[in-house]
Subunit: 770 residues, 2 copies
């Protein structure tokens, strides 16, 4: 069901939408008044610490908690022996993974088998952190070490250990997904040139500032209340209710109200912080706080999926794409999390960029004994974008066609058929390409060859890559939003939504949408987010959906509120609805513009007549793709292998920028994350399966000197299904960075790198091999 | 606009409604887990104490807070000099007092003039209670003592001091109200017998268990959040927003979630606990807790209105009422609170019991230098019920007509015209009278005369009194409710309302109404109350309106939810709506009853299809009167003047008892409060205007030995406007106790007492005078 929204006023001239106004949460955040889960302190609160497995794969033969329990100040010790034996999926935001496939539930709160180094073995609640930590040392665990495997290709081999017992094909998570268009054999047969390669993708961490945390309490209202860092309060509530066999309406999950960054790592549970806090609160009857240490957050939170993607592109000599084959084998880590869905996203991203008559994707995730892989900003986009775009770059080189021209020739246009179950109604990708090329000076590509010829040590290159991203989780998950909107008796407005303010500006964006419809100041709207007690169901902030999906529900709510008010005034004034108009937050008679009531006056009048206007706006099951083209200019130090990104132009079509300042921030933040993915970020496991990067000191996030000025271009192609034409933008800028840089590196060095990140060492070795 | 509700199923056989099920808050309360405002503790919280005037009327000439501010640990000291100069009415739950009359706003947070002994002079916030209390002693105040007056009749005299400057007639609060039916002169001329007397009513205290309290904090969401003991969260928010000039949507008021009794004393502000906590939180930037001591709660919280009511009843010799005149002059105390409304309620209660062709009420409240009088359970009913019913008893005696017969002859019947602006659609008063008379053995009245003749010291008597009470605040205040109802994905239901669980069982009653409509178990419904962030506007728990008004909104919400679901299933099954039926929480096809989906299945199906059912039910501007007859049997010790109430039969028609156990509890609790009003409870001011009763030790609440078994009779006359026929019942049982007992005392002693309470001293003096 696609909901086509005509422009509000038949014109693009909005009043609030399109303005880069200051964020509504700015004051609280810059003054340090904003509260996060770690700020929640309750009377009688206990503190929890978690014992983690030192082994990547082992069976617990014996566990003795008696000494820990005897330590004064310890109130509870939990293991697999005294916690619910209910299997769950810590990230499943709905009952389904690609409905109607049911979510893979392969995890217990604690289990007798540990499947990665860091897996939860026991938890302690004590009156302070010191005692809780000391108690961990008193828990005696005897392990039977099991063989472990860390690479998905290794895990598929006959000799590999089976990590779970439920798999129909050993270590394959869920179903192997296959889809495509046309007949791939026909396409490959028609192709005159075939370009093929396999790409190896690294493990990236979200690196969000606030570690995973939760406070659980049995509150006086008879509910299990959990303050949480989750991105998805309602789905998190579902998982909690399932684990503890509680009715949904007896569990409350809320943000307090801010979240210190998320990037996908808090979809569903915040690692296991919520159920561990809840189990300890249920066991002790006291509030319990769990705050993960940074190391713990690194090893026990989901990562981005590493893995292997093979791309085969068939073209005519004139550059027309004929066939595109993708195969993905991803490292799912120890538990499913999003591993059943990510391959589908990888295929969808890879096969929806270009108009190819014959395409085929096949892929799946594989269990290994590493930290679970799950959602990470860009969900299933950076991996195929790197693989497909490098292939396209190579094809352009092989055919001698300008890479920008080759793309302009083949990109999807509105109306083209593709693999997605929703239509392509708009795309500004062509404009992204042409404006981005102009901005970076794409014509200088030839000049750089002269530069390189004249420089021994430093070589330069220009590169380009394109891609797209979703605006909601549909059809991969159930996806719906409800927004509650009410006019208060003083004319101010209350808006509540189940999405989250995790730093992306959602609070401000939703207020702008409502303010635009109602023609009031943004400040007149107070936004409450992310409390299951306040708002109807919402699948939460994921899949770049907050502005689009919750934005649509906001738009619908605001329009309905407006119509309720107009109907009320129509009855009050005994004037037909069409005789009334709404302007600048006031209702007036078209025939007699002096007859006029401001929203404040309407609210007071309604209150006097015992009436309040309130509504729930809904949105469900829509999606639209946003488009982007990145251009990078690099300088490679051939003596050290160091890559310096001189310029990065990020041209993005998100339909409409509700708040261009926020959109620019999202693009820049995403591009920096893409820069890290390209150049430095990687989690490596030692031969014993232990993460070598478990802190900000060891995990190489880009630092200020590594980041060029990111030159953003906002393209607004509009989107008939989106609020004021907007689509999603939160995750978009991560994916195209790596192929843009890597193809620039190719111009500089002549090497087609197939493995990320492009660390100095890897580039240096590549240069040496050459 | 009267909303006539047909019975749900055309039958009185309900499944959940009418069952005396255990209260949903029982577990939390009996285990001590239920949380109250005093349980709220926040990090960095300060504690506040209030400096109160020792004088009943004075001007502050000089106030020096320097020494208090210098005390280590003191964070703020507030007086009239550094707090908002915004006038408010601490009890005004709407902009209006009897719309369109505007509420009388005569109070500042702190003022340079103090108007009763206990009036707020300053407040201190410090790091602990000890320091805050010590700081109070360091505040130096120089007062100019002003003349004071404590009795309303004295306050009307020319020589009396003017307590406020805004009064058009000296010391008269608001408008003098007048209303009635017919032509009173004609009525009095037609009367053959006229009975007249003036009654003096005492100051009663609500005596609720939890003292006034509030915690205010500037929360991380940028709101001023106040946990409060209020009965009316939304209206309280309005007063706070007004005082501090904040938009409504930037203020959050909530119960945490329970309130330890209220009885009217927490309508609007909880005394001034909320704005004092808020002002200190704004001044310090830290959370501030204010908890009134018991003495403070006694002297600084509203009381019931004392005063004088004169009644003149004209009758034909056959007992037919011809004319009824009432005049009320009530003691409003130092500030308006509800004093502009209470006289109207007094007149309405007095003039709506009987069918009298000619009636007239005139009344007003008068400012004095006593604690403010405001709302107290029974709001404007105990006073006129005592005055009118004693007059009727006297008339019966004078005419030699049985008091029950005289009442049966004259009581209002459905369809009769009366002074209220809503119709009388139902009344079970006749049944209350006949069943009550049978239960107490009214025929024994003659026998008691024989007992009295044979007993020197102990004399017995039987008495009766009738009355009515409202089910909402309409038309005296704006009165509307919104109830938010949603079906969760697991089939459980969330219900949210702006009314309060202050001990009256509202939580359970609303759940029963929703459960009845949806045909689910009560346990399937989780009820959230009293948080301005969660629910739309509601004028709160006052005027016995929660079950009736919020109950109607609940009923409407449940019906709408049901219809939404039926429409969904109709579309899903491609079956016309009328082919579907709803039974036991399941939807099925009438033609094929095997085709059936439980609510749990419907919820899961809707979730799968990205849909949630949610709605806001509304109710506004309705009212209906409940009816009651009380019968008392007393024994008077003529040597001591002590009255022993041997039996008390309370027959009540509340239309329909949604939960008979809760209704019985309300009747019994109200009757006990009426017993205290009749026999022992009274606040007396010494010549310096100081309360002599400022603790449970000194204020004589009835104790267990004073209370007879209260024999309740539930009469269910039904009510076309009420949910399942229900009307209000929370306040009803207070009023008829005093006249029932006092007329029994007349039979025992031959004395018509006109002043309450009937303390042994007062009875003894009466006997002595005789």
């Amino acid at each position: 069901m696609t909901n086509i929204i005509p422009p509000i006023s038949g014109t693009d001239q909005y009043r609030v939408v399109g303005q880069g106004i200051a964020r509504l949460d700015a004051y609280e955040k810059v003054t340090g008044k904003a509260t996060y889960t770690t700020d929640i302190t309750l009377p009688g609160m206990l503190f929890a610490k978690i014992l983690r497995s030192p082994h990547p794969h082992a069976r617990i033969i014996n566990i003795n908690t008696a000494r820990a329990e005897a330590l004064p100040g310890v109130k509870a010790v939990l293991t697999y022996q005294n916690t619910p034996r209910v299997k769950f999926n810590a990230a499943a935001t709905s009952t389904y993974t690609i409905p109607p496939l049911e979510a893979v539930k392969d995890q217990y709160l604690f289990d007798a088998v540990v499947r990665y180094a860091g897996d939860e073995v026991a938890a302690v609640a004590a009156i302070n952190e010191e005692i809780a930590r000391a108690a961990l040392d008193l828990i005696e665990v005897e392990y039977e070490i099991l063989p472990a495997v860390f690479d998905p290709l290794q895990a598929l081999k006959p000799e590999a250990p089976a990590i779970h017992t439920h798999c129909t094909q050993k270590n394959v998570v869920g179903e192997s997904l296959q889809f495509g268009l046309g007949d791939i054999e026909v396409g490959l047969a028609k192709a005159e040139v075939i370009v093929e390669a396999t790409y190896k993708l690294p493990v990236q961490k979200q690196g969000q500032l606030e570690t995973q945390a939760a406070v659980a309490a049995l509150t006086g209202d008879g509910k299990l209340t959990i303050w949480s860092t989750t991105q998805t309060p309602h789905p998190t509530r579902r998982i909690i209710a399932e684990i503890f066999n509680l009715p949904l309406n007896k569990v409350r999950v809320l943000n307090p109200p801010y979240v210190g960054g998320a990037f996908g790592v808090r979809i569903g549970l915040s690692a296991k912080a919520e159920p561990i806090a809840a189990a300890l609160a249920l066991a002790t009857g006291r509030p319990v706080k769990v705050v993960y240490g940074r190391w713990e957050d690194f090893i026990a939170s989901d990562t981005r999926h590493a893995g292997y993607i093979t791309v085969k592109l068939g073209l005519s000599k004139d550059g027309t794409f004929q066939a595109l084959v993708m195969q993905a084998i991803m490292n799912g880590g120890a538990y499913c999390s999003w591993s059943a869905d990510v391959p589908g996203a990888i295929g969808s991203r890879g096969l929806t960029i270009y108009r190819v008559p014959h395409s085929k994707f096949a892929g799946y995730s594989v269990y290994t004994n590493t930290s679970p892989a799950g959602a990470c900003r860009g969900f299933g986009a950076p991996q195929p974008t790197f693989a497909v775009e490098m292939t396209v770059a190579k094809a352009a080189a092989q055919l001698g066609i300008d890479p920008v021209e080759l793309r302009l020739k083949n990109i999807i246009k509105p109306g083209d058929s593709w693999v997605a179950p929703f239509p392509c109604l708009s795309s500004g990708l062509e404009e992204c390409l042409t404006r981005g090329a102009a901005k970076i000076g794409w014509h200088r590509r030839k000049e750089l060859e002269q530069f390189n010829a004249g420089s021994e040590r430093y070589k330069r290159g220009l590169g380009v890559a394109v891609g797209n991203h979703i605006s909601s989780a549909f059809p991969f998950q159930t996806d719906y939003s409800n927004v509650y909107l009410s006019l208060q008796p003083d004319g101010t407005i209350q808006l509540a939504s189940g999405v989250v303010e995790m730093g992306t500006g959602t609070k401000t964006t939703l207020a702008q949408i409502a303010a635009e419809v109602l023609e009031v100041e943004v400040e007149a709207i107070a936004v409450s987010l992310a409390d299951t007690e306040i708002v109807p169901y919402d699948v939460g902030s994921q899949a770049s959906r907050s502005s689009y999906a919750a934005g649509l529900a906001t738009l619908q709510a605001a329009k309905d509120l407006k119509e309720q008010i107009l109907a009320y005034i129509s009855a009050k004034w005994q004037l037909a609805r069409e005789k009334l108009a709404w302007q600048k937050g006031a209702v007036f008679s078209r025939d007699d513009p002096g007859k006029r009531l401001t929203l404040k006056e309407v609210a007071a009048d309604a209150d006097f007549h015992n009436r309040q206007f309130a509504t729930v706006g809904k949105n469900a099951s829509q999606n639209a793709l946003s488009w982007h083209a990145h251009f990078a200019e690099v300088e490679v130090d051939t003596q050290t292998g160091a890559i310096k990104v001189i310029r990065l132009v990020a041209a993005h079509d998100m339909g409409k920028a509700i708040n261009p300042a926020i959109v620019t921030g999202q693009i820049q933040g995403g591009a920096v994350m893409g820069l890290g993915y390209t150049l430095s970020e990687e989690i490596i496991y030692d031969p014993d399966g232990r993460q070598l990067q478990d802190s900000y000191h060891k995990y190489m996030l880009p630092m200020a000197p590594d980041v060029p000025e990111i030159e953003t271009i906002i393209v607004e192609a509009g989107e008939p299904t989106g609020p004021f034409g907007a689509r999603g933008v939160g995750e978009n800028a991560v994916a195209p960075v790596a192929p843009a840089i890597a193809s620039a590196v190719w111009q500089a060095t002549g090497i087609w790198f197939t493995e990320l990140p492009l660390t100095p060492e890897r580039v240096f070795r590549g240069l040496k091999r050459k």
